[in-house]
């Protein structure tokens, strides 16, 4: 049992960081192991925001040597950026193991991203113009406080509270997943994918990389694969209902869209609220009530339902 949530404002920005924090905090009981956010800000044209981790949180308790290792990884990372002629406009270390870069890069970002991830222990959490992906161990309040998300202005966001069932409790296995190397695409998922290994091998044969053994990562890779071929988000999500087995509800966010899909059994919950200027959805109504205290009408999407909204 995990909790997922999403919201998208139409034609305006809002404090989506604070709103998503409230939603995920109210879903804490569905998954206390880790919390993740994919928030979409305005960005600046031509610049990339890259969120990267250079160690796991649990690594920090493994002696003082880890600090030296982290410095070496960051140094190697900076070397790769320089090698690819990426101009670092801003950078900061949010936690001892999580960094944020604002880059200007005119080259092949996919090649640069693959090169960065060749550095042992380094994983890009997100790379895009508007997307900032943050995930760590702890509840929503702790993670949002740690990463300064309480006042993040943007148009839309998705989030996840995780109860680890089939892989480790670490940042690598936490959601959301960035749809590497597709800029600005992120995924959160609640459920189990039963043809995970078949689909993973198929994606690996097509050249995609997996950073974890979490079945949810498959959805991010799957979406990236089909969108890179030119399929729309909606077409991709509809195809997934046919090709991916299991019980699942998942959300995908792109630079300006938010989509949801439910499996053929409708076995995993989602409650949906729609108005002219805001769409909000979550595993439980209580999360929507956390940002909309007034009386509202909500619905449960049905089996095989796919919806996509524009910011």
């Amino acid at each position: 049992m995990c909790g997922i949530a999403g919201l998208i404002h139409r034609g305006r920005t809002s404090n989506v960081g604070g709103e998503m924090t409230s939603m995920l905090q109210s879903l804490k009981h569905r998954g206390p192991d880790s919390t993740g956010f994919a928030v979409y800000g305005a960005g600046s044209p031509g610049d990339y925001v890259m969120r990267v981790k250079v160690a796991e949180q649990e690594d920090m308790s493994r002696g003082r040597g880890i600090h030296q290792v982290i410095e070496e990884r960051i140094s190697a990372l900076d070397g790769v950026l320089a090698e690819h002629k990426a101009a670092v406009k801003d950078s900061g270390r949010v936690t001892p193991y999580a960094l944020r870069y604002v880059l200007s890069h005119g080259g092949d970002t996919e090649e640069m991203a693959r090169h960065i991830e060749e550095i042992e222990g380094v994983e890009i959490l997100s790379l895009g113009n508007g997307l900032e992906l943050i995930k760590d161990l702890g509840d929503a309040g702790e993670v949002a406080g740690q990463y300064g998300l309480d006042a993040f202005a943007g148009t839309h966001a998705i989030g996840h509270t995780r109860m680890a069932t089939e892989s480790d409790v670490d940042i690598r296995s936490a959601h959301p997943y960035w749809a590497f190397p597709y800029n600005d695409v992120s995924v959160v998922h609640n459920g189990q994918i039963t043809n995970y290994w078949i689909m993973r091998r198929e994606m690996e044969r097509k050249g995609h990389r997996f950073m974890s053994s979490c079945d949810s990562e498959l959805l991010a890779v799957y979406v990236a694969h089909h969108m890179a071929k030119g399929d729309t988000l909606e077409t991709t999500m509809r195809r997934s209902i046919e090709e991916i087995d299991g019980v699942f509800t998942y959300l995908v966010a792109t630079k300006d869209q938010l989509g949801m899909a439910k499996d053929t059994m409708a076995a995993k919950p989602l409650v949906l609220y729609e108005s002219d200027d805001l769409i909000a959805m979550a595993s439980e109504e209580v999360a929507i009530r956390a940002i909309l205290p007034q009386e509202i009408d909500t619905t449960d999407p049905y089996d095989e339902e796919v919806r996509v909204w524009q910011a």
Partner: protein, 289 residues
């Protein structure tokens, strides 16, 4: 089977062999004990410790700052004080509001509840002005629950008695494993509604999703709109005058009677052709196949 030799069995057709072995006529055993209803046996229908409440004695609970357990304890405490009409305000999607109420009460919930709302109840009349989450009315034994807006999935799961009414649409697996009572949906219902239904009636005024009544053992489902597909062993049956009279009475009671009446409803029952309706173990079937 007495008097039939192996040699004779070998010469028989499959149908004759099945009849000779008693497979067509043997009565199922081990079914529920039959009890004659005794209208004077009031003790069977009220708990001895049930609080005496006055429906004209009304009070309110503001659930905004309370945990679920605090709300439910407050309801019990007020019932013990004789309050027969309790209004819960600002439930804000909290789970398990109003569960386990086992005696008469008018409970009005002004707002929406989360999962498992008013489950395991036996007697109260509940009105919910908002929406309810998954598994509303699960295992309810008696009473009425009327929801003004939509409901989530597994609405009325394993319900045994009473009327559970949603005036809006509901999610998937409505009435899964229902063992009695009546579920009424004013709008649409999702996939696998009536799955493994064993008894009772379900009425869907709108459309029904795929696999309606899958593997149902017994009971009746009425659908006013389109049925996307029937489940395994669910079959259409004739809508009798008795069915229409019952539908008319029930839907009128809750303000859901369509203008055109109920003649257009489709009636779904169990075909009773699944393996669980014969008496044979697999090795016995091999003998005759």
């Amino acid at each position: 089977m007495a008097g039939v030799t192996d040699a004779e069995l070998k010469t028989m057709s499959q149908e004759d062999r099945a009849k000779a072995l008693g497979m067509m006529t043997e009565q199922l055993t081990g079914r529920s004990m039959f009890i004659e209803f005794d209208e004077d046996a009031e003790a069977r229908f009220t708990y001895p410790w049930a609080p005496e409440v006055d429906f004209n004695k009304r009070t309110e609970i503001d659930a905004d700052a309370l945990e679920t357990t605090e709300v439910n304890q407050a309801i019990r405490d007020l019932m013990a004080e004789g309050y027969g009409t309790i209004v819960v305000k600002n439930p804000r999607g909290k789970h398990s509001i109003g569960v386990g109420i086992l005696s008469r009460l008018n409970l009005i919930i002004e707002g929406s509840t989360g999962y498992f709302g008013v489950g395991l109840i036996d007697g109260p009349n509940v009105r919910i002005n908002g929406r309810v989450g998954w598994s509303c009315g699960e295992n309810m034994m008696s009473g009425t629950v009327v929801i003004e807006k939509n409901a989530g999935s597994t609405f009325g799961a394993a319900i045994r008695g009473g009327d559970l009414v949603c005036k809006g649409s509901v999610g998937s697996r409505t009435g899964i494993d229902m063992k009695g009572g009546t579920i009424i949906v004013g709008g649409d219902t999702g996939a696998l509604s009536g799955f493994m239904m064993q008894r009772g009636r379900m009425v869907v005024c709108g459309n029904a999703g795929k696999n309606l009544g899958d593997s149902m053992y017994d009971g009746t489902i009425y659908v006013g709109g389109e049925i996307r597909s029937l489940g395994v062993d669910a079959v259409e049956a004739d809508l009798t005058e008795l069915d229409q009279a019952w539908l008319t009475r029930k839907l009128r009671q809750y303000g859901l009677l369509p203008e055109q009446g109920v003649g257009h409803f489709t009636k779904i029952v169990a075909g009773k052709q699944l393996w669980n309706y014969d008496n044979l173990e697999p090795n016995e079937k091999k003998l005759i196949l």
